[in-house]
Symmetry: C2
Subunit: 207 residues, 2 copies
């Protein structure tokens, strides 16, 4: 439907909103008309929170998780096991795993998975810095907690091969999560159990 908007300002705002994934033009219009009914201060704080996030957010120097400081609270936490590192795609998975309260190690956020179709190769991800962390020698185990998709498998293999020269155990979270599902949508019990029942990389792939 070729919508004609009564205001250029409105059309601009709809265009900006409709760029977001999963937001169509009708939804964008609905959200914007909702914002128009709110106080000025509310809309300003909405817009400012996005600007502040985009300009001021930091990424932890160690694990690349989003952080307000140079090093994130999880990496700074002395009570956590720094010899076990859980490799995840994104911060959503860190949050999901933290919510299971089954994992007391640290994380490494790749920032994505290898996906040739989206033009994402190993160099676009934080894989080199993972190898560097492992090469320092104080890490016993790497737990791969990527989505059980073809891209996840590819990334698992790539990391496994990159870590082969080092004396480190590489494990994967248990495949309690059905193939094709995404980790962030798994329920907490399944996700927590899959961390406890992780299997050695070789056994997982029957090599």
């Amino acid at each position: 439907m070729n919508q004609r908007y009564p205001s250029v300002l409105l059309e601009n705002a709809v265009n900006e909103f409709a760029r977001l994934p999963g937001i169509g033009r009708k939804t964008a219009l609905r959200l914007i008309l909702h914002l128009l009914r709110q106080d000025d201060t509310l809309v300003d704080s909405f817009a400012q929170s996005l600007i502040a996030l985009k300009h001021e957010v930091k990424y932890c120097k160690v694990c690349h998780n989003i952080s307000d400081a140079e090093v994130c609270p999880i990496c700074l936490d002395k009570s956590r096991d720094s010899s076990t590192i859980c490799v995840v795609e994104n911060i959503k998975e860190v949050m999901a795993i933290e919510n299971t309260m089954q994992f007391k190690g640290q994380y490494h956020v790749l920032g994505g998975i290898i996906s040739p179709i989206d033009g994402i190769g190993p160099a676009d991800l934080e894989i080199e810095s993972l190898v560097k962390r492992v090469s320092h020698g104080s890490i016993n185990e790497i737990i791969l907690a990527l989505s059980t998709t073809m891209e996840g498998d590819t990334t698992n293999f790539y990391i496994y091969k990159k870590l082969a020269p080092y004396d480190v155990k590489v494990s994967m979270i248990a495949r309690g999560i059905s193939i094709g599902d995404e980790i962030e949508y798994a329920d907490e019990v399944t996700l927590g159990r899959s961390i406890l029942n992780r299997t050695l990389f070789n056994e997982s792939y029957r090599m």
Copy 2:
């Protein structure tokens, strides 16, 4: 799920986004992580478009539609029939009716419908200004094009009674749209036909 966010900035942005209707915290997080992957300029223009809209948008002095000027293009259009006014809830309905290309009159945007449950009474809507437009005497017909819900019916009745003292025909769009459906989601053919086949207010309600 009691999510713990690794960054206060991130949490603030998620909170702001999750205030929007129909946007939960998981969707908010997904949208924000998408924005984080974009260029700074893109996020800035997104935020600025909202601020600009909120602070600079005007409402047409005549019909209360959103407008960039004091009087909207539809009210200024001399080729349109200024003796027929279509009363709608919101600008979404103006856009939907304009898209049918079946209506050549003008509009009056109420800014909502009477809904006691949401605390919206007649005084919160542009009903007085509609009566004022009618009282100037150059209007032949008022077409009520509100949603066919209980709130819509209530508002129809209220406006009908308010306009009773004046020499003006009050009609309603045909109930081709099933009861309970919202006007903005009707298809263009049905919506266009319902404008052409409008019935007199009395006949619609069998009074």
